[in-house]
Symmetry: C2
Amino acid sequence: MSREGFPVVEADLLALSLGAALLGTGGGGNPYIGMLRLRELLRRGATVEVIPLEALDDDAFVGSVGGIGAPVVGVEKIKQGDECLRALRGVEEASGVQCAAIISAEIGGSNSIEPMLTAARAGLPVVDGDGMGRAFPEVQMSTFFIYGLDPSPGAIADDKGNVVVFKHVIDMFWLERFARRTAVEMGAGAGFATTPMPGAYVKKFAVPNTLTQALDVGRVILEARAKHQDVVSRLIDATGATLLFTGKVTGVRRELRGGFAVGEADIAGIDAHAGSNARIAIQNENLVLFVDGQPVAIVPDLIMNLHLETGEPITTETLRYGQKIATIGLPAHELMTTPRALEVVGPKAFGYPDIAFVPLSRQRS
Amino acid sequence: MSREGFPVVEADLLALSLGAALLGTGGGGNPYIGMLRLRELLRRGATVEVIPLEALDDDAFVGSVGGIGAPVVGVEKIKQGDECLRALRGVEEASGVQCAAIISAEIGGSNSIEPMLTAARAGLPVVDGDGMGRAFPEVQMSTFFIYGLDPSPGAIADDKGNVVVFKHVIDMFWLERFARRTAVEMGAGAGFATTPMPGAYVKKFAVPNTLTQALDVGRVILEARAKHQDVVSRLIDATGATLLFTGKVTGVRRELRGGFAVGEADIAGIDAHAGSNARIAIQNENLVLFVDGQPVAIVPDLIMNLHLETGEPITTETLRYGQKIATIGLPAHELMTTPRALEVVGPKAFGYPDIAFVPLSRQRS
């Protein structure tokens, strides 16, 4: 094992939730409630050990859990607390294995924390990584499924005691359909577990070190605030992110379409971007940033909005007229930008057939 | 064992499907496609033995299967053929038991035949009985669930290979919600299996001998036609049914409401009922027959429409202006008319809070 693990401590929770909110690229749900729950568990003596991917045994099984809800902003919230654990038990029983560790499907937003709650309750470590390196709205949009994992079985549990097992699903899209539909029937917030994965598979296909990344991002924000530094500049220095735009929100249009929060935000440039106009296309998450009509950052690359002054991450549902914001970008992990991945998480998969994915790093050169 | 079993033979299939269509009380789906499939299986050498309830061992497990679909008329159709068998395997595995026999959840309509297809494929006998003694639109409306069976687990399978297991459901209403929603997602026609039941429970709570009843009813219709007798009179003589009304359909109103085919048919009396007017309230099945404004037959009693001349059962979706019909009634089985049962299948459960259930036999006295 080349790297060390570390325990999650209460002092890190705020940083973790800030970082996860930013990596949610506008979506992913609010990690705040999960953070409070985790804090309670830690105070009562529970421990959560974060282990690096390399620490996984090839033959050990890794469970992936998270909240799933109606695909509208803000409802991926767990109500009762052990929904994810009961869903995990559902897939373990259906597949006849026991999991030795837990991994998040998406580091962005509330699903950075949910796996920790499950891990604390189950007495298992959490893996430092996830299946997206950000947030995405649908189950199949994870490296785990993109790279060929058999999606059977999955399981979903609600706060009332219901557990539904997707025993055989013919592909990851059907898993998404069944799970989403059942979650809606369960009343918006449910715990979801996907099929236990061999450690060897997770080591190969998880986006690595994203819990550490979320923690680091959050710590930079908090430290800059404490030192009255410019948060956005400090973030860019620390993470290698690109400052894509600085401006004032002049309009936000949002509607629910096909279960998604679809919309656009218009931003009038200020400071270095004065005279330019930007537009962000939104589908739960920030998908494409256009500057003066040209796409300059494109899904699956991470497009993140922050309050210009406080560095507070802005989710798509809290974007408002008049806000002064910075839009920064980070390249998606290379596992998310292969031709195979782009079929599932590229601009075409989100309804932009005319936009070719051009990675952020190349844009900058 | 006091009564003998009997094999299903090809010569009985038409009678069986006619009888099942009539006992469907206007709903239950058309048994014709299932009948053709069963004929094929029998011709290829498969056998289906019908056994009486008394033949069940108390400790043996009985599986209940059927088609489930979007709750609109005519879609409870199985597409591929072994959906119910795969659903049965799903509940067997989830509950850790093997079934020794199959029973129909509802004798009315297509679900009289589906369990036979499953039985033929699984090499198991079919029990002479069912959970409704007629057809009803929802899962919980069966004696099996009304009398306290734990509804976990259930399973549903589609024609594509998907199998979803309702591993823990907190009550029969949640089973109906999850199963119906999943069936809709699967594309209308799916195979459904409910939790394996001990033989002792089935012996106590199944509506007995309803396969024999369906066969007998169908045979009477066919024989009367062959002998050019009055089918309706012959049916009444043979079954003890009541002739409730004879008339000409003067109007049919139907709409989809909450997933149900809801409507009314108006009938102007002829022959002995000349001068009277009848109205049938419909929710997939015939629910209440009003004659001159008064309810004279009420769910769960069986209200069945036939073509006056041919004795062909008329489903609610084939009711048309101008048809001359006879409406006959049979009392529901006593298991369906207890206070406990009426909470689930009485007029109030179908949205008629002001109509008290008065059983058909008392009406006649």
